[in-house]
């Protein structure tokens, strides 16, 4: 199997699991959000295929529901980072001069900084002051995705700019200009389709980074807030019970690993594809 196929298969499997979460929940008949203190730390069984956690909640169901949250953040970052990055990269390549210099110095600066300490600071900000309530799943997803896009656009923009610069010197651009194409039309209809590959590669890598960063922030208690499950905050819970239920620490990490490996494989596959 090719890298692209393997990567897409991994991501598809995880997405299908996340999509099927309500079905599995109906089939198993538990509520993954409701604590059941009589069923704490149960070993894997037919009723609980992966066992239960410290509050007696089914780990498999929480894993699937956590996948919905983690993949939603990843999807939001993918859209945001590739959109913003492409726009900035195209603008820098097209405008040149001062615009280009300023935008690329900002990108250099962001790339040179250690991102995680900054993410920790940003994630600790009280967003309720600007009208985003904390602790609700949707606003948490938006908050984390926003913070990650603020860093994720950089590699996309750099690659988009480099590819666009190479294309701007081509004859077809001059031909389109002579034919009277407006600059916006030229960029969107003629240039963009020719630089899709590097943008896709950079975006896939951005998503891989976003999944890791989201899980790290949630693990540190700054990302998705419990009781909503995410792969990161499930591991944070598992860390506190490594003595009583060491297996609970395995599954969420495995899910993160597969998701990130899937994105990397897709990026690799797209890059190596001939043509």
């Amino acid at each position: 199997m090719t890298r692209l196929g393997l990567g897409l298969a991994l991501l598809g499997l995880l997405a299908a699991g996340a999509a099927a979460a309500p079905l599995v929940q109906a089939w198993l008949g538990h509520d993954p959000f409701l604590p059941d203190l009589l069923a704490r730390f149960e070993p894997p069984s037919r009723a609980h295929p992966l066992g239960t956690d410290d509050l007696g909640r089914d780990i498999l169901l929480r894993l699937l529901h956590g996948g919905r949250v983690s993949l939603a953040v990843a999807l939001a970052v993918a859209l945001g980072a590739s959109g913003l990055g492409t726009a900035i990269g195209l603008l820098a390549a097209w405008a040149g001069g001062w615009t280009d210099a300023v935008l690329m110095r900002i990108a250099d600066g962001l790339l040179a900084l250690p991102s995680l300490p900054l993410l920790v600071v940003l994630a600790a900000v009280d967003t309720s002051r600007i009208g985003l309530p904390r602790g609700e799943a949707l606003s948490d997803i938006l908050r984390i995705a926003g913070i990650l896009v603020a860093f994720g656009w950089v590699p996309v923009a750099r690659l988009a700019r480099a590819a666009a610069l190479a294309q701007l010197g081509q004859d077809y651009v001059a031909a389109a200009r002579i034919a009277g194409a407006s600059e916006a039309w030229l960029l969107v209809r003629h240039l963009l389709p020719n630089i899709v590959t590097p943008i896709a590669v950079a975006s896939a890598l951005s998503v891989a980074g976003a999944i890791l960063a989201e899980s790290t922030l949630s693990f540190l208690g700054l990302g998705i807030q419990p009781p909503a499950p995410s792969w990161g905050n499930m591991l944070s819970g598992a860390q506190e019970m490594i003595f009583s239920a060491p297996l609970a620490a395995v599954w969420p990490g495995l899910a993160i690993l597969l998701a990130v490996a899937g994105c990397s494989l897709v990026a690799d596959g797209v890059r190596r594809r001939p043509g």
Binding site: G109, P114, S115, A124, T216, G253, L258, L265
Partner: protein
């Protein structure tokens, strides 16, 4: 070279200034200023006391004025106080920086060694290339905190060979080393992927070059060709990679230190943020950024020294 150095140092200074201003703004939006916190911890405070404290500590001033006052103090070498540890901030910062540099140094050395060995294996034995690829993809997809957790479960909980975290209490290098093993291993495994992949690609490219064919024709043994001729040239992209990766190395140290409860810069930043110790958090963040950018600069200079084509 001097012009380059001066330009880059200026760029670093500007970046630090911008980061400090932005962070100051962001921290102004965080829940609870120091006076609010004092109010929470002491129920006897009256509203008049609170108002007096705000004036006393300058909290009634606009954000911009407070920032200017803070930055002039820092430039004079006065780093202020840490709320969390109740000592001058500098007294917490320097030992933490030392501990982080020890962790980073060991894990960087180990990941370079392992990564380049893997990369060389993949380049020299094409049939092993898929294995190197698989290891690299697995290593770079593994969340740092999960790997740390698994290592703790295996070596500290199940086997009981190594401490689960913390810092050595008894003096002596042997004891300190025992506490270093798991954090260094965690960080090294996560980082080695990039060196393995880029090392493999660079060595493969060099081994196909004409000068390697000439060396083979002279009858040089393969080992000498690999390590004396191809490797120094392949090292150049690796040094570039080091320059690009300095930021993620420091980020990895933050997570590793938090999991293993190692008193370093990363844990300091995290604890300071969580404990609303704004001054310490900002200083630690700026120090981490400064170290990262200086490391990047050092790698850039090393690259120029290694590659005569880049020298001015």
């Amino acid at each position: 070279m001097l012009r380059l150095l001066a330009g880059r140092l200026l760029q670093i200074a500007v970046t630090l200034l911008l980061v400090s201003a932005l962070t100051w703004l962001v921290m102004g939006a965080m829940p609870g200023d120091p006076v609010d916190l004092a109010m929470l911890s002491d129920p006897h405070l009256t509203p008049e006391d609170v108002a007096r404290m705000r004036v006393l500590h300058g909290m009634d001033q606009p954000l911009a004025n407070r920032y200017l006052a803070w930055i002039t103090a820092v430039l004079r070498g006065d780093f202020g106080h840490s709320r969390l540890f109740a000592v001058p901030a500098a007294q917490v910062l320097w030992p933490a920086l030392g501990s982080t540099l020890v962790l980073l140094g060991w894990s960087l050395a180990l990941s370079l060694l392992l990564g380049l060995a893997l990369g060389a294996l993949g380049a020299v034995r094409p049939r092993a290339a898929w294995l190197v690829d698989a290891i690299a993809i697995l290593a770079q997809s593994t969340p740092t905190f999960w790997l740390g957790l698994l290592l703790i479960i295996l070596f500290a909980v199940e086997l009981g060979w190594l401490p689960a975290g913390g810092a050595a209490e008894a003096p002596g290098p042997g004891e300190a080393l025992r506490y270093l093993v798991l954090p260094v291993a965690t960080l090294a495994i996560v980082n080695l992927a990039a060196y393995a992949r880029h090392g493999q690609a660079a060595l493969q490219a060099e081994l196909g070059a004409d000068y390697v064919r000439t060396a083979r024709m002279k009858g040089l043994p393969e080992r000498a060709i690999l390590w004396r001729h191809a490797f120094p040239n392949a090292a150049i992209p690796i040094v570039t990679l080091l320059a690009l990766d300095a930021g993620s190395l420091v980020s990895g140290a933050l997570v590793t230190e938090t999991i293993f409860a190692r008193p370093g810069m990363g844990k300091l930043i995290y604890d300071a943020i969580m404990g609303n110790d704004y001054n310490l958090a900002l200083l630690a963040l700026l120090l981490a950024a400064l170290v990262t950018m200086l490391a990047t600069l050092a790698a850039d200079i090393a690259q120029r020294l290694l590659d005569p084509r880049l020298a001015p």
